[in-house]
Symmetry: C2
Subunit: 499 residues, 2 copies
C-alpha cells in the first residue's frame, strides 16, 4: 500500500478555487439545471441521511426506522424475490454449479425446469458477462413477442422489440429520437411520473401537460387532451407524441378500452406517436388491463384506413408487478407502425451504450415466460406470485382506510400500480408557514412528516397537480401498520398546530 498523503478536502479546495474553475452551476448545460426529479430529490437525500444516522446508533431522532415510501422499490422493503427467477439467475452467474445437478436438486431444491431454463439461456448468451446484441438477446426478444401475442391475441415481431435497462432508459431513447428541437412537444398527463418532464427538459423540448380527472378516479378526459393540444399548436408547438401511463403513476388509474380508443383516435387524427407506459400492467386491483397494442390492432381490423398510420410504442419493465426486480434494470419496448428507417435510428442510438445488462435481459425472459401449469416450479411460483399480489392489495386498502380517517385528506379508492395519491387540504396558517420558508405547501408538509416520523413520501408538486390543490404520493409497499399510524398521528398534530 502506497503512503497516503493528506491534501485539502474537496470542500476546502472547492472554496478556494470556486472562481477559477471551468464549470460552475451557472455555465453548465442549462437543460440539466432546469430538469426536476423530485422522487430522488431533497426529501430522499434527507431520508437517506436519517437512515445512516440510525444505522450509526443515533438516538436523537423521534423515530427508529426510515420508511422509503417515496419510490416503488419493493425489495428494499420486505418483498421477497420469486424463487424460480433467482435460482435461474444464480446458475447464469455461476454455471459451474451445473456440474453437480444432483446436489442442486437434493440440497437446494432446484427443480428440473430451473436447470433447463438456465442451460437454454446460457446456450444463447454464452456468458452473462458478454455484451449481447444491442437490441437485446434474440431468443429473449422472441420470448417477449410470444408473451405479447398470448396477452393480446395479435402477432408481435421480435425485430420490433428492444430490450432496455429498465423502462426509464427506453423512455430516454424514444424522447431523444422523437424530439427534434425546442418547438417539439409531447403531451404528458398531469400528475405524471417525473421521468417524462425531466427528460423533456434535458432535450429542451416542450412538455404539453394534460390534466387527469381526479373526481373521475383520475381518468383520462379526451376533451382535456384536445384542448391542451390545440393550445400548444396555437402557441407554435409541434406536438409529436402523447404519453399515457396505464395503469397510472402516481394515480393507479386503469384506462378502459373506450378511453384507450379515444387516445388512439386523437393519435390517428393528429399524427401523434403514442407512448404507452405499461409497466404496471399486472398491478391492477379493479377491472382488467387492456394493452394499447391490442386495442390498436382491434381498431385496425375494424377500420384499417383510419388507424393504419398510428405509431405506438409500449414499454414494460421487470421493476414493477409481482416481479419487483428494480435493481436488475430490465425492460423492453415494442415499436408498432414505425418507419423502418426510424427504427434503424433507434437501434443506432441504443448501440452507442452497447447493450442493456444481460442478467436484466434474462429476467425479462423469466418474467414473460414463467413456469407453466404442470411444470415442476409452477406451484411455488404461483403461490409466491399470488401472495405478493394479495399482500399489495391488503396494504393498499389499509392505507386507504387510514387516509379516510384523516381530516382534510381525500383519496381515490386504490385501483392499481403501487401508489396512493391523496389530496390534502391544509389550513391557511400552514400555507403561510410554508411560504415563510419559501417552500410549496405540499413540500413543507412532506418535510415535516419526514422529520417527525421518518416516513418519506413525495410532494404532489413533484408530479404536477392542478393549481391550488395539494397532494402527496406514497407507495403502499411497506409492511405492517406502524408506519401508517405514524402518518395518522403526525397529520392530526400538524392540523392542530396550524389550525
Amino acid at each position: 500500500m502506497a503512503t497516503r498523503t493528506v491534501l485539502p478536502t474537496e470542500s476546502q479546495r472547492a472554496l478556494s478555487t470556486a472562481a477559477i474553475r471551468c464549470l460552475n452551476v451557472d455555465n453548465i448545460n442549462s437543460n440539466v439545471k432546469a430538469a426536476k426529479y423530485a422522487v430522488r430529490g431533497e426529501l430522499a437525500v434527507k431520508a437517506e441521511e436519517y437512515r445512516v444516522k440510525l444505522a450509526q446508533g443515533d438516538k436523537s431522532l423521534p423515530f427508529d426506522s426510515v420508511i422509503f415510501a417515496n419510490i416503488g422499490n419493493p425489495q428494499q422493503l420486505d418483498q421477497k424475490p420469486i424463487t424460480f427467477f433467482r435460482q435461474v439467475l444464480s446458475l447464469l452467474e455461476n454455471p459451474l454449479l451445473l456440474n453437480n445437478k444432483d446436489t442442486l436438486r437434493a440440497t437446494f431444491g432446484y427443480q428440473d425446469d430451473v436447470i433447463e431454463r438456465a442451460e437454454k439461456l446460457l446456450a444463447e448468451v454464452q456468458s452473462v458477462g458478454a455484451y449481447s446484441h444491442s437490441q437485446g438477446v434474440p431468443l429473449i426478444r422472441e420470448s417477449v413477442a410470444k408473451f405479447i401475442e398470448g396477452r393480446d391475441g395479435f402477432s408481435a415481431d421480435p425485430q420490433s422489440i428492444f430490450l432496455t435497462g429498465g423502462a426509464s432508459s427506453g423512455v430516454n431513447t424514444l424522447l431523444n429520437v422523437i424530439c427534434n428541437g425546442p418547438s417539439a412537444g409531447v403531451l404528458v398527463p398531469i400528475p405524471q411520473y417525473p421521468l417524462y418532464t425531466a427528460t423533456l427538459s434535458l432535450l429542451n423540448a416542450q412538455c404539453v401537460p394534460y390534466h387527469l380527472e381526479e373526481q373521475k378516479a383520475w381518468g383520462t378526459d379526451i376533451n382535456t387532451i384536445k384542448k391542451s393540444l390545440e393550445q400548444a399548436k396555437a402557441a407554435g408547438t409541434d406536438v409529436r407524441a402523447v404519453v399515457v401511463i396505464n395503469p397510472g403513476n402516481p394515480t393507479g388509474a386503469s384506462l378502459s378500452p373506450e378511453d384507450i380508443k379515444s387516445v388512439l383516435d386523437i393519435a390517428a387524427e393528429e399524427k401523434l406517436v403514442v407512448i404507452a407506459d405499461e409497466v404496471y400492467q399486472t398491478n391492477v386491483f379493479v377491472g382488467e388491463f387492456t394493452s394499447f397494442k391490442k386495442r390498436l390492432r382491434e381498431l385496425q381490423r375494424e377500420a384499417p384506413t383510419k388507424y393504419d398510420n398510428v405509431e405506438l410504442v409500449s414499454l414494460h419493465s421487470v421493476s414493477k408487478g409481482m416481479v419487483g426486480e428494480c435493481g436488475h434494470r430490465g425492460g423492453y419496448f415494442e415499436l408498432v407502425g414505425f418507419d423502418p428507417l426510424v427504427a434503424a435510428q433507434v437501434y443506432k442510438f441504443i448501440s452507442i451504450m452497447l447493450c442493456p445488462p444481460v442478467t436484466g435481459q434474462c429476467l425479462v425472459e423469466l418474467m414473460v415466460n414463467p413456469p407453466k401449469e404442470g411444470e415442476p416450479s409452477h406451484e411455488l411460483y404461483q403461490k409466491e406470485y399470488s401472495g405478493i399480489r394479495e399482500g399489495l392489495h391488503k396494504r393498499a386498502l389499509a392505507l386507504y382506510e387510514a387516509f379516510q380517517r384523516m381530516e382534510g385528506v381525500e383519496c381515490q379508492e386504490p385501483q392499481g400500480a403501487m401508489y396512493l395519491f391523496p389530496t390534502i387540504t391544509l389550513p391557511p396558517k400552514a400555507i403561510e408557514a410554508a411560504a415563510a420558508e419559501n417552500r410549496a405547501a405540499d413540500e413543507f408538509y412532506c418535510l415535516r412528516l419526514l422529520d417527525a416520523t421518518g416516513v418519506c413520501v413525495v410532494p404532489g408538486s413533484g408530479f404536477g397537480q392542478k393549481e391550488n390543490t395539494l397532494h402527496f404520493r406514497t407507495t403502499f409497499l411497506a409492511p405492517g401498520t406502524d408506519w401508517v399510524e405514524r402518518i395518522v398521528k403526525f397529520h392530526s398534530e400538524f392540523m392542530a398546530k396550524y389550525k
Copy 2:
C-alpha cells in the same frame, strides 16, 4: 392462448403508410441522425447475419465461424469469468444458497471468503433486486475510494465517486453536464473510441479533434493539442474539456507521467475539464500505468497554485482488464476538484435513471477489492488473473507478427488495451473499386474481409484517422491462430487482385 390474428407485416404496413406517419428519418432529432457509431454499425450487423446463417446450418458461406474482432467482448470469445467473482454473484442472486454453507464448501468449492463477501454485500444492498442509492451503494463507493488510495497513494472521497452502468453511461452523464450549447467543444483524440464523437453529436456540441502521433507509438503531442485548441477558439468554439484515453483505444498506447503532466498543464492554463478514460488501466504490456489523479495530486503538492483549479474526472469499468464482465454493465467515475454545486447537478442527472444495475455495482466492488494474499480464494484468483493476462499478451504478439508478414501493413508494437490498429496501404485499383461502391477504402477492405473470412473488424474511419491514411481496428481476444491466418490469406489475395 388467445387466437392469433394475422395482420399485414410491419414492412408491408411501412410501405402503405410511409407518407402519413408522424416520424420519418428526415424529421426526427437531427442530432441522432448525425451520430455515427461504427463499432456496431453495418459491418457488425452483417457479421451477426452470417452468425445466424451458420447457426442455421447454412453451408454456402466460405467460412465456418464468425470472429467478432470488432468489439472488446472477451467472454463472447473464450475468456472465462473469474471464479471468485461469479461465486459471490451466484449467492447475491440466490441468498437461499447460504442456508447450506457446508454443501457450498464441500460440493461446489465455495471458500469462506466467498461466503463472507456475499454476506457483507447482501447486508448492505438488502437485495440485488432493490434500487440502490442513485450514486451507487455507499459501501461499494467506500471500497472504490480505498482502491484509488492504494493505487495512487493519495486520498479519495467516496462522496465524489459515482457508480455507473459501464463507462459509456458515465461519459454520457459528463458530456451532458459539460456541454452547454452548440458552441461548446471538447478536445477528443483521433483515433478515438467513437462513443465520444457520437455523444457530442447527440448533444449538438463540437468535437475538437487532436491527432495522436502514429510514428511515436501513438503518443500524445502537446503541441498538436495546443494547435487544435487555438484553431477551435479562433473559430468561436468554447473549448471546455479534453478527453484522454489512457491506455489508448484503439491504439493501445500508454501515456508517460511526463505526457500526463503536459495535458494537466494545458488543463490548468486553459481551464479545461480533463476526462480521463482509464478503463484499460490494467491492460498494459509495456511500461506502467499512471493515473491522471495521481499525477494531478503530485503536481498539486509541488505547485498548488498552478494546479488547484484543475477539474478531473477519471472513468473505470468492469468490462475490460482481466475482469472482462461487459454484460454486467458496471463502472464508476471519480470527480476531482469539481464545484460541489456542479456535482449536485451530476447527481440529479443520474438520479433520473434511478441507479446502475446492482449486480454490476457489486462486481465493481469485487474488482477493486479482490481476494488478498493469504485469503482462501487468493491462489485461484491469482492464477486465473495471470492466465488471462499472459494469454492476452501472447495473442497480441501473434497478431502483431502476422501483420508484419503482410504487404502494405504496418503496426505499432502491442502496448496495451485489447486492440491493434494497423495502417494499411492499398493499391490505387482497390481505392477506385471502393469509390465505385461509394465507400471509404478502409470500409471496402473490411467488408471484403468479412465476406471472405467471417472476421469482423472496424474500419479506421470509425475512429478517425489522418487524411489519406487507412487503418482498421481488431481486438486480439479471439483464441487460436486460424482466424489470424484467414486474415493473412485474404490480404494476400486482395492485394494480388487489385495490384
